[in-house]
């Protein structure tokens, strides 16, 4: 009888144990790139990022993607020019991948190795610092990706024959919601 009970328990419990996956969904985001030029300081902002994280066996894989053309710098002509120099017609998405331990959400800071696909190139950034604050099921993450134009083989655009700086830091502010 005991053996039957144990067997029944195992039959019921094993599928449940196998489904320990949880997932994170990006609920809000603000991504801002900054371009420096002696005459202009430009920020391009996008709220159009979508993201998902899938956790399994203590490890979470995250995928975040945002259309290149969703960045708005306040001038449609500049945005189209940016779309051209970043080869956004051919490569319309910025795709970011990272993998983190599931318990990373318990700490106040995260050091993430991230892979960014942009302009037909892939760049990897090691140990990028993000600050994390938790509010219930939500986790707010903010940090800056130290991107440069040369990382993605982008010719620096110029205004009045003066090229913009190579550094284009991308400020990331995201709210993730945990779903079982």
């Amino acid at each position: 009888m005991k053996a039957k009970t144990l067997l029944a328990f195992l039959c019921l419990a094993l599928p449940a144990l196998a489904q320990t996956e949880s997932q994170w969904v990006l609920s809000q985001s603000t991504l801002t790139y900054h371009v420096s030029h002696p005459l202009h300081q430009t920020d391009g902002v996008s709220h159009a990022a979508r993201g998902k994280g899938v956790c399994h066996s203590g490890q979470c894989d995250f995928l975040i993607a945002v259309p290149v053309k969703s960045f708005d710098s306040g001038d449609s002509n500049r945005d189209l020019h940016m779309l051209q120099v970043t080869r956004g017609g051919e490569f319309p998405m910025v795709v970011v991948r990272t993998s983190l331990p599931e318990d990373a959400s318990a700490s106040a800071t995260i050091h993430a190795d991230i892979e960014v696909q942009f302009a037909g190139q892939t760049a990897r950034y090691k140990q990028v610092l993000f600050e994390l604050t938790k509010q219930g099921n939500d986790a707010k993450i903010s940090g800056t990706i130290p991107a440069t134009l040369t990382d993605f083989r982008i010719d620096p655009p110029s205004l009045l024959t003066i090229a913009v700086k190579n550094e284009i830091p991308v400020r990331v502010e995201m709210t993730w919601r945990k779903e079982k």
């Binding site: 202009h40 979508r50 899938v54 995250f62 449609s76 002509n77 017609g89 892979e115 696909q117």
Partner: protein, 277 residues
């Protein structure tokens, strides 16, 4: 005994010669690595970037998959290689392969990852770009750069013709003043319309709403554009009247004011896209 030694030396010499000749021939043996790039559902992936790295020399050869997902890398010397493949929306996948002396070797590559762009709700139309879209953007930027450069060059004869206009339109003007003004005005007009041609003919990008300083730049074109048509017409009438010894009269009197408004709108149009508001 000496004969045997001589034969041995000759044999060795021939063997060495054959070895020397055969080594370059052996070094030229290369193989082609080819295959198909697919995603996890088996669909072919075009424009995937494939890098084939010789692990002994560290040298890499790069190629891209075609529209059917096919790729091929010729002229690989035998050895161990690391093949990495990446594509828009997929993480980089790597595989090891040993190239032998067979002329053709197949290595099918599968792009994977726990999550794909489809999982985020993006449609293929959103995630897949095209060379045509990029070519359209490239052409637009190229034409607008020409518009900008020629437009900036046109500033010089526009300013000069406004200045010389004050001499050409006065009471005691000479025909030289008028001709100088006419020449500068013509140069300004030619450059202006050439610049305008590139702005008007630059490809439009669908789904883009004009906003920001470029909006003001375009609105000002509705002032300096008609002005650049009216100014030479009125100028020609004024030129004839002056050449006939008459005082500028009638509609021709508007030549100066129209030219000044046109030049001011033109200057404001340049500033609208040069200075951050």
């Amino acid at each position: 005994m000496r004969m045997r030694a001589k034969k041995l030396v000759t044999g060795l010499g021939i063997s060495m010669l054959l070895l020397c000749l055969s080594t370059p021939l052996r070094a030229q043996v290369t193989a082609t690595l080819a295959g198909t790039v697919t995603n996890q559902s088996g669909a072919s992936v075009s424009n995937a970037k494939i890098s084939v790295k010789n692990l002994a020399t560290g040298q890499s050869v790069k190629t891209q998959s075609d529209s059917a997902g096919l790729y091929h890398v010729p002229n690989l010397v035998p050895g161990d290689y690391e093949v990495s493949v990446s594509a828009e929306g997929f993480p980089t996948s790597t595989a090891k392969v040993t190239i032998t002396q067979e002329s053709n070797q197949t290595l099918n590559l599968t792009l994977g990852g726990v999550l794909s762009l489809g999982d985020l709700g993006f449609s293929p139309a959103q995630t897949q770009g095209s060379a045509q879209d990029q070519a359209r953007l490239d052409k637009r930027s190229h034409m607008l750069k020409l518009h900008q450069r020629i437009g900036l060059i046109a500033t010089a004869p526009i300013v000069a013709s406004v200045i010389t206009g004050t001499f050409a339109g006065g009471r005691s003007t000479s025909s030289t003043d008028r001709w100088t003004h006419l020449a500068l005005g013509s140069a300004a007009g030619d450059l202006y319309f050439l610049s305008a041609y590139y702005a008007i003919r630059a490809p439009k990008i669908q789904g883009t709403e004009t906003h920001g300083p470029i909006r003001l730049h375009k609105i000002l074109a509705w002032i300096h554009g008609p002005g650049m048509i009216m100014t030479p017409i009125l100028g020609a009438i004024a030129f004839d009247q002056k050449s006939n010894g008459e005082k500028v009269h009638g509609i021709a009197k508007a030549h100066g004011p129209v030219a000044i408004v046109t030049a001011a709108a033109y200057g404001a149009a340049i500033l609208s896209v040069s200075i951050k508001w």
